[in-house]
Amino acid sequence: MTGDVKALIAERAARELRPGEVVNLGIGIPNLIPGFLGPASGVVIQTENGLLGVGPRPQPGEEDPDDIDAAKLPVTALPGAAYFDSASSFAMIRGGHVDVAVLGALQVSATGDIANWAVPGKSVLGVGGAMDLVVGARRVIVTMTATSSAGEPKIVPRCTYPLTARGAVDTFVTELAVFRVQESGLVLTEFLGGANLEDVAAATAAPYEVALTN
C-alpha cells in the first residue's frame, strides 16, 4: 500500500468527522487523519490510554515521555485536555461517550461485522482496545485498502477471520469507494481516486447496491 493510497483514504475519512465529535483513531491509516483536519475542525481526539484532547505531534526534541497515544507515539495535549485512568477511558468508550472510532480491518461484512485482530491459524495474542472501540463507539468507520496484500477482497459476504464484533461498522472507506452499512444492506455511496464500478466490483466480494450521494 503506497503512501498516496493511505493519504487518499485518510483524507476522505477525515471528512466524515463533524465539529464537536469525539473521535478515537486506530493505528495505521486512522493515525494520518489529524493531518487532514483543519485547526478549526472542532474534532476532539481521544486516545484510549487516557487522554481526551490530543494535539499535534510534538516537534522533535520536544517529546514528553509521559505523553503518548495508543500507538505509543509521542503526542501533545491541547488546552482543556483531560487525562484519566484506563478503566475510566474504557468506561467512556464502552458507555457510548466516544462518538466515532476509526480503525483498520482485515475483513468486514455487508452487515457490518468486523474482523481486525486475529488471523486464523496464528496465535491470537493482541487485541488491545479494538473490541471495546467497535462495540462502544456510536459510529464506527473502517479505513482499509479494498484488498489484502495477497489480493483478496476485504469486503466479504461473511467474515472468515475471527470476529472483533458483529454488526458494528457503519462506514467503510477504501482507496476505491465509500460504503455505508444500512438496514437494507451494503450501499456504495461514493467512488474515490477515480475508481469506477468495475474497479470496485473486482475488489469486493460482498453484494452491495450503488446509490451515489455526490
Binding site: 464537536g20 469525539v22 472542532g42 476532539v44 481521544q46 481526551l52 484532547g53 495535549a77 488546552p79 482543556g80 485536555a81 483531560a82 487525562y83 484519566f84 474504557f90 468506561a91 467512556m92 468508550i93 464502552r94 458507555g95 457510548g96 461517550h97 466516544v98 462495540v135 462502544g136
Partner: protein
C-alpha cells in the same frame, strides 16, 4: 471553543420533559445543583418525574420542593428518610420508592455510564433488598445481580467548570455528581465558577468535558 454549552438555568430545565428520569447529584444538599432544581421547581411544568438521587432533598429545600409539587412519581435512592415528607409521600402511595444500598446505588449509576450490563455485589444479598433479584454464589459468597441505572437528564453541581465543560468538584460536594455526569442522555452542569478552557489542570479534571452537554453558572 464550544460556547453553545453555556445556557441559563431556566433554558436548561426546559429540556426536562414529562415522565423523564432525572439523576440529581448531592449528598443531602451538599453538592446538589440547587439553582437548577429551583428553576425546575419554578419555571418548568414537567411532571411524573423519576428522580434518582441519594436523598429527596429536605422539606422546602432542593428536591423537597419538587416533591411538594407532587411532580415526582418515583424515587430511586438510598435514603428517603432524610426528608420526612418523602417518607409520608411514599407511605400515602403518592410516590413509588426503590431503595438501594448506597454503594450499589453509586455503582449502578457508574455502570449505567460505563456500558456495563449488570454486576454482582455481595452487598444486600440474602436481605429484603435482594427480593426479586437474581442471586448466585461466587467463590462461596452470595451475590446479588444489580442492573445499571441511567437517566434522560442529569443535573450535577461542580465548584469549577471550564468553557469546554470540564468539571472539578470541591471537597465532599463531589459525591454522586461525577457518576451521574456519565449516565444520562443530557447532562446539565451547574458550576460555581466558570473558567476559560484549560483552567483546570489536565490531570485534575474530575469530569472530562465530553460528558457535559450544557453549562449553567450558579447565580
Amino acid at each position: 471553543m464550544d460556547p453553545g454549552k453555556l445556557v441559563s438555568a431556566e433554558e436548561a430545565v426546559t429540556r426536562i420533559g414529562d415522565g423523564a428520569t432525572i439523576l440529581v447529584g448531592g449528598f443531602g444538599l451538599v453538592g446538589a445543583p440547587l439553582a437548577l432544581i429551583d428553576r425546575l421547581v419554578e419555571t418548568s411544568n414537567a411532571r411524573d418525574l423519576t428522580v434518582v438521587s441519594n436523598n429527596i432533598g429536605e422539606p422546602e429545600r432542593g428536591l423537597g420542593r419538587l416533591l411538594r409539587q407532587s411532580r415526582i412519581r418515583r424515587g430511586i435512592s438510598s435514603y428517603f428518610t432524610s426528608n420526612p415528607e418523602a417518607v409520608e409521600a411514599v407511605n400515602r402511595g403518592d410516590i413509588e420508592a426503590t431503595l438501594l444500598p448506597q454503594g450499589t446505588f453509586a455503582e449502578a449509576i457508574r455502570a449505567g455510564g460505563a456500558g456495563i450490563g449488570g454486576f454482582y455485589t455481595p452487598v444486600g444479598a440474602g436481605t429484603l433488598l435482594a427480593e426479586g433479584k437474581e442471586e448466585r454464589e461466587i467463590d462461596g459468597v452470595l451475590h446479588v445481580l444489580e442492573r445499571p441505572i441511567r437517566g434522560d437528564v442529569a443535573l450535577v453541581y461542580a465548584a469549577r467548570g471550564d468553557e469546554l465543560g470540564n468539571l472539578w468538584y470541591r471537597r465532599t460536594a463531589r459525591n454522586f455528581n461525577p457518576l451521574m455526569a456519565t449516565a444520562a442522555d443530557l447532562v446539565i452542569a451547574e458550576v460555581g465558577e466558570l473558567l476559560p478552557s484549560g483552567g483546570i489542570v489536565a490531570e485534575d479534571v474530575h469530569t472530562p468535558h465530553l460528558y457535559v452537554d450544557l453549562i449553567v453558572v450558579s447565580p
